[in-house]
Symmetry: C2
Subunit: 292 residues, 2 copies
């Protein structure tokens, strides 16, 4: 069975085809431009592909409330042309298949729970730490939506005592994203994150903020796996630093061996690597097929 997938990022779109085992059979990628142009490329790609369903993991915020007249819309993004744009309805006009529709990070969380690092578990959190910070939440075997959808990249964290940086989030200044996303690192140190040496102070700060956010999420939700992805997390030396911060913050309060003894296999990189988003979109498509 062929399932279509759209990983709709703010910078680029990836369209692909996969199967029910999560294998990615083919993919194309193009930059995110005005929605009319970009969605024309998506429609063109899937025109003769014979997919049984299409899953879309989209940048946000998006409307995922099935009872809403604006279900499938991108909502308040500053991205030119995309605010209040009927992303899903436009595709559904010409592609007559069931659609899965969720945030990019929820898609990645589902992908990891289906075929990746959280396979077989009923809960996980998927963080992407890159140009922004996002969190996908999978709990008790379901993706979490609620009122809107999780936006855990913007929680407030305590400031590192040596950190005088004001923060880069246009809404909150020094929230998690404002302090720990790639642009904040670059703005604070005036050098790209990817060019900072591994012993730079920047990584201590980074682990401090991410470790706090992860510790709070463990306390609030008790997930069975924490997956940290995104461009910044390509810096693999961050993982041990973050795990140490999490332990420092929890101080033994959560008495589960996963946290106290085996944190190396509890806070992990994506099992699907950089395919988490596209594979997750396949998983969303598969769910839509099964529900249809």
């Amino acid at each position: 069975m062929l399932i279509g997938a759209v990983e709709a990022g703010g910078t680029k779109f990836v369209c692909g085809i996969g199967n029910e085992s999560g294998e990615i059979l083919e993919r194309v990628s193009f930059p995110t431009e005005h929605p009319v142009k970009t969605l024309a490329q998506v429609k063109e790609y899937f025109k003769n592909k014979q997919v049984e369903a299409i899953g879309i993991g989209s940048f946000g915020p998006i409307n995922i409330d099935r009872s809403s007249a604006h279900y499938g819309y991108v909502t308040t993004t500053p991205k030119p042309g995309w605010a209040n744009y009927p992303f899903l309805p436009e595709l559904a006009k010409v592609l007559d298949v069931p659609f899965g529709w969720d945030t990019d990070v929820n898609a990645a969380a589902l992908g990891e729970a289906t075929w990746g690092a959280a396979r077989g578990l009923s809960s996980c959190l998927y963080y992407t730490i890159g140009t922004g910070v996002g969190v996908g939440v999978y709990s008790e075997g379901k993706l979490v939506h609620g009122l809107v959808h999780p936006e855990g990249g913007h929680i407030l964290t305590r400031r590192h005592l040596e950190d005088t940086y004001s923060g880069k989030c246009p809404y909150h200044g020094d929230c998690l994203e404002g302090m720990a996303a790639g642009p904040a690192i670059e703005d604070r140190w005036k050098i790209k994150a990817s060019e900072l040496p591994t012993d730079h102070k920047a990584w201590e700060f980074e682990a401090f903020y991410i470790g706090q956010a992860v510790a709070s999420a463990i306390l609030l939700l008790s997930p069975q796996k924490i997956i940290l992805g995104g461009g910044v997390m390509h810096q693999m030396h961050l993982f041990p630093l973050i795990r140490e911060q999490v332990k420092n913050n929890l101080k033994g309060y959560v008495s589960a061996a996963e946290v106290t003894d085996n944190i190396e296999s509890y806070i992990v990189p994506p099992g699907l690597g950089d395919n988490a988003g596209l594979s997750g979109s396949i998983a969303l498509g598969l769910q839509a097929y099964q529900n249809a």
Copy 2:
């Protein structure tokens, strides 16, 4: 149909009988002492009660992992006699009915979602702010368990700039519970919370900490209702202060009318009042009956 309920608190136990509409038909209460003595009273109470199931909402931490050999145990509590005590197995020896078993706050969240302030919704958070701080999590129509169970009362919050109090949590010092639970208020101001005038600085601090925790929870989980219960929240003047803090923290980022326009009906006291815990235990019992 008669459903038994046990609201097992660290200070007192409440046992009761309710029906499938959530009506509480009778109840008794006794202090929490050594488990052998206290559970004997529970067994005695239910001996000839003809209930179809019993729901227990317990103080924690507890083991709620059905696949564990210690399912139904209280785990690491400092309460004399209760650490690693087989609470549920002891009752199940003599009471031959299906049992529902969860944390006191999860029970209250389920009660509120079934018959209270979150009735008809698929998600809510139930905070109890009293001698400790606990959070029950109901999401996508299910209580959240995960690795252990939610312990969101211990998340780290930023310190109020004028607050020099070191915090009362034996694990984390100045976590949410360490700064905002009843004993922290009393220890900080050397006067019982219930005796502080409504214009006392204490309430500004209190709203500051709770408002931060609630804002972070909204971002991470996007719940459809936030319910604040427990002894400290009997101070109704706290509600507008907390709502204001939540708005200040979110800064319009979560664009849902529930938060931006109608926060008065979004952050609310328990619809079931002080019966949330006992009613929630009835709801747990009802679930156990339906699953059996």
